[in-house]
C-alpha cells in the first residue's frame, strides 16, 4: 500500500490540468507548478539531508545559480533550454564540489553555518551583478525554448515541471537504493563505522552534494521561467530554511515526502495568507505540532517506515 503513495501523488498532479477549474484554472496551475518546482528543490535537499545526513542550510544558493544561468544566457540571447540546463547544472555542480570539499571537513553546527555562509556569498554576489539588475533583479526577454519551440508557456510549463519532477524523483529513488545510496546511508547513521568498513565518508557525501546541487539548479531554471524574472531573493537564507522545513515536515529520507512538504508549506502559505497577513503566527505553531506528532513527517503518517 505505502509503495503506492508516490504513484497516487504523481497521478493527482497529472490530473490537475483536467479538472473543471473554470476561471481559477490559471491560478491553480501556477500554484501547483510552484509546489512541484519547490518539491523538486526539497527533493534534492532530501538527498543530502535524509539520505546523506548533511544539514545543508544553503540549498537555496543552487536555486539562485540555476535562475541566474537563465538570466545571464537570456541577456546574451541564448534561450535554448538544453544549453541553459547544461550551464546551470555545471555551475551548481562545480560550486557544490568546491564548497562541499571545504564544508565536509566540519560536522554538526559548523557544517550548517559554513553552508549558510557560502550561500550568503552567492546571494551577495548576485546582488552585486549590476549588469543583471543588481538587487532589483532582471526581467527575462523570453522564456526558454526547447529546440526552438516555445514549449514552456501555459500548460506546457506545468507539464515540464511535472515531467522533471517525476524523472528527478525516480533518479533519487534509484540512487538511494543503489550501492552508493546504501553506503551513504551507512555514513549518515555512523560515519566512524562506515569508515572502518572501508567507505570513504567525505567522498560519498561530496558526490551526494554535487548531485543534489545539480538537481536543485534545475528547479532554479524552472522557477525563473515561471516568473520570467530573476533576483537575488531566490537565494535568501530564509528560502534555504523553507526548503529544510519542507524536507523535515514531509519526512526526511522518504524522498516523496519532500513534495508533500512543499505542498503543505506553499498551500498553507497561500490559504492562511488570504485570511490574514500575520499567517506566520498560525504557521509556526502548526509546524511545531507537526514535528511533535508526526515523527516520520507527512510521508510517515499511517505507518512506520523501515
Amino acid at each position: 500500500m505505502r509503495r503506492l503513495v508516490p504513484v497516487v501523488l504523481f497521478a493527482v498532479l497529472a490530473a490537475v490540468p483536467f479538472l473543471p477549474l473554470g476561471q481559477e484554472a490559471n491560478f491553480v496551475l501556477l500554484l501547483v507548478s510552484r509546489v512541484m518546482v519547490f518539491g523538486l528543490a526539497a527533493l534534492s535537499l532530501d538527498l543530502l539531508l535524509g539520505v546523506g545526513g548533511m544539514v545543508s542550510f544553503g540549498h537555496a544558493a543552487y536555486l539562485a545559480i540555476g535562475a541566474y544561468a537563465v538570466a545571464v544566457l537570456d541577456a546574451n540571447d541564448i534561450t535554448d533550454v538544453g544549453v541553459v540546463l547544461a550551464v546551470a547544472m555545471g555551475a551548481a555542480g562545480v560550486f557544490a564540489l568546491a564548497t562541499g570539499a571545504i564544508a565536509l571537513r566540519t560536522r554538526g553546527v559548523n557544517f550548517i553555518m559554513i553552508t549558510l555562509a557560502f550561500a550568503q556569498m552567492v546571494f551577495f554576489a548576485f546582488g552585486a551583478l549590476s549588469a543583471y539588475g543588481g538587487d532589483d533583479g532582471y526581467s527575462l526577454a523570453a522564456r526558454n525554448t526547447v529546440l526552438g519551440w516555445p514549449l514552456l508557456k501555459g500548460r506546457g510549463y506545468y507539464w515540464a515541471c511535472l515531467a522533471v519532477l517525476v524523472v528527478a524523483y525516480l533518479l533519487c529513488r534509484m540512487l538511494a537504493a543503489s550501492r552508493f545510496g546504501r553506503a551513504l546511508r551507512a555514513v549518515k547513521q555512523n560515519p566512524a563505522r562506515a569508515a572502518a568498513m572501508g567507505f570513504n565518508p567525505v567522498a560519498l557525501q561530496l558526490v551526494a552534494m554535487v548531485v543534489g546541487a545539480m538537481l536543485c539548479s534545475v528547479a532554479g531554471v524552472l522557477l525563473a521561467n515561471g516568473a520570467e524574472f530573476v533576483s537575488p531573493a531566490y537565494g535568501t537564507w530564509q528560502r534555504s530554511g523553507d526548503l529544510l522545513i519542507m524536507v523535515i515536515l514531509g519526512g526526511a529520507g522518504s524522498l516523496h515526502g519532500a513534495i508533500f512538504g512543499s505542498a503543505f508549506v506553499l498551500l498553507l502559505e497561500e490559504g492562511l495568507g488570504r485570511a490574514t497577513e500575520h499567517w506566520r503566527l498560525v504557521f509556526g505553531p502548526l509546524l511545531v505540532l507537526c514535528v511533535i506528532f508526526f515523527r516520520g513527517g507527512l510521508a510517515g503518517i499511517g505507518g512506520r517506515r523501515g
Partner: protein, 249 residues
C-alpha cells in the same frame, strides 16, 4: 624471517604532557592472536585508534601487510584488510541485521560509486552476510532492525560485520565487555575458530579469556610495553604481577 602482518616501530603519541604511547614496538604475526593487557589508562585504546587511523601518532611507523599505513585514512586501511570492533558497540542502527553485514561485504567488494542497481538485490552479498550471521549465531535475528538488538547481540553483529570484510587482521577492543559467562564462553569459542582465517589484536580485561586465547601477550603500562611474550612467561613475570595482575586478581 618474513615481515610480521602488523609491525609497529617507535610509536609515540602525546596529548600535552600526557604520553599515551611511548616509543612502542609491537608485532602481530599472521595466524596468531596477540593480546594487549594493562590497567585502565595504559594506552590500549589509544593504540587501537592509531592502528585504525582515527588518531595520528606523533612519531613512529605502522606497517601493515608490507605497506606503510602510518598516515593512511581509516577507510583505506579497512580496504587493505584491517577490520575492527569498537569498544562502545557501533552498528548501523537503522539497517536490519542482514543489511548491516551485507553492507560490510559490499564495502570490501569493489567501488561504492555504483549508482544504478539496487544494493538490497545483491544476492552474493546477502548470502555472504547470512553465512557470517550463522557463524556468530545471529541468523534467526537477520530481519530485525539493528537498533533494537540487545547489547550482547550488537556485539555479535559487530563481529559478524568485521568478519564479513574477510580481514587479514581483526582489532578487537574489549569484545567481552559486558558479556555474561555463557556468552563469554561462546565468544571465546568463536574467536578460537576465527583465528584460522585471520590474525587478531585483542584488547581485553577478562584475563581467563586472554590467557586461553593469546599466542603472545603484551603488557602496557603508562604507554610503555613493560613485558611481551607467550602467556606462561607473562604469568611468571614479576614486573607484570606488580603492575597489573596483582591488582586485578
Amino acid at each position: 624471517m618474513a615481515e610480521a602482518l602488523l609491525a609497529i616501530a617507535g610509536l609515540s603519541k602525546r596529548y600535552g604532557a600526557l604520553t599515551v604511547t611511548h616509543a612502542l614496538d609491537l608485532e602481530v604475526v599472521a595466524g596468531t592472536i596477540h593480546a594487549i593487557i594493562g590497567p585502565n589508562g595504559a594506552g590500549k585504546s589509544s593504540l587501537i585508534h592509531q592502528i585504525c587511523g582515527t588518531v595520528r601518532p606523533d612519531e613512529g611507523r605502522i606497517r601493515f601487510a608490507g605497506v606503510d599505513i602510518t598516515r593512511m585514512a581509516p577507510h583505506r586501511r579497512a580496504r587493505l584488510g584491517l577490520a575492527r570492533s569498537f569498544q562502545i558497540t557501533s552498528v548501523l542502527p537503522e539497517f536490519s541485521v542482514l543489511e548491516n553485514v551485507a553492507t560490510a561485504v559490499q564495502a570490501q567488494g569493489g567501488s561504492a560509486f555504483r549508482f544504478c542497481r539496487a544494493a538490497a538485490g545483491d544476492g552474493v552479498a546477502n548470502e555472504a552476510a547470512a553465512h557470517q550471521l550463522d557463524r556468530v549465531g545471529l541468523l534467526p535475528r537477520a530481519g530485525v532492525v539493528a537498533g533494537r538488538l540487545s547489547h550482547g547481540e550488537k556485539r555479535q553483529l559487530e563481529l559478524a560485520m568485521a568478519l564479513a570484510a574477510r580481514p587479514r587482521l581483526l582489532l578487537l577492543d574489549e569484545p567481552l565487555a559486558g558479556a555474561g559467562p555463557e556468552e563469554t564462553a561462546r565468544l571465546v569459542g568463536l574467536l578460537r575458530e576465527i583465528r584460522r582465517d585471520c590474525a587478531m589484536l585483542l584488547v581485553e580485561h577478562d584475563m581467563q579469556a586472554v590467557f586461553a586465547l593469546a599466542d603472545t601477550i603484551t603488557v602496557l603500562a603508562q604507554g610503555r610495553a613493560i613485558a611481551s611474550g607467550p602467556p606462561d612467561a607473562i604469568r611468571a613475570d614479576p614486573a607484570v604481577r606488580a603492575a597489573y595482575l596483582g591488582e586485578a586478581h
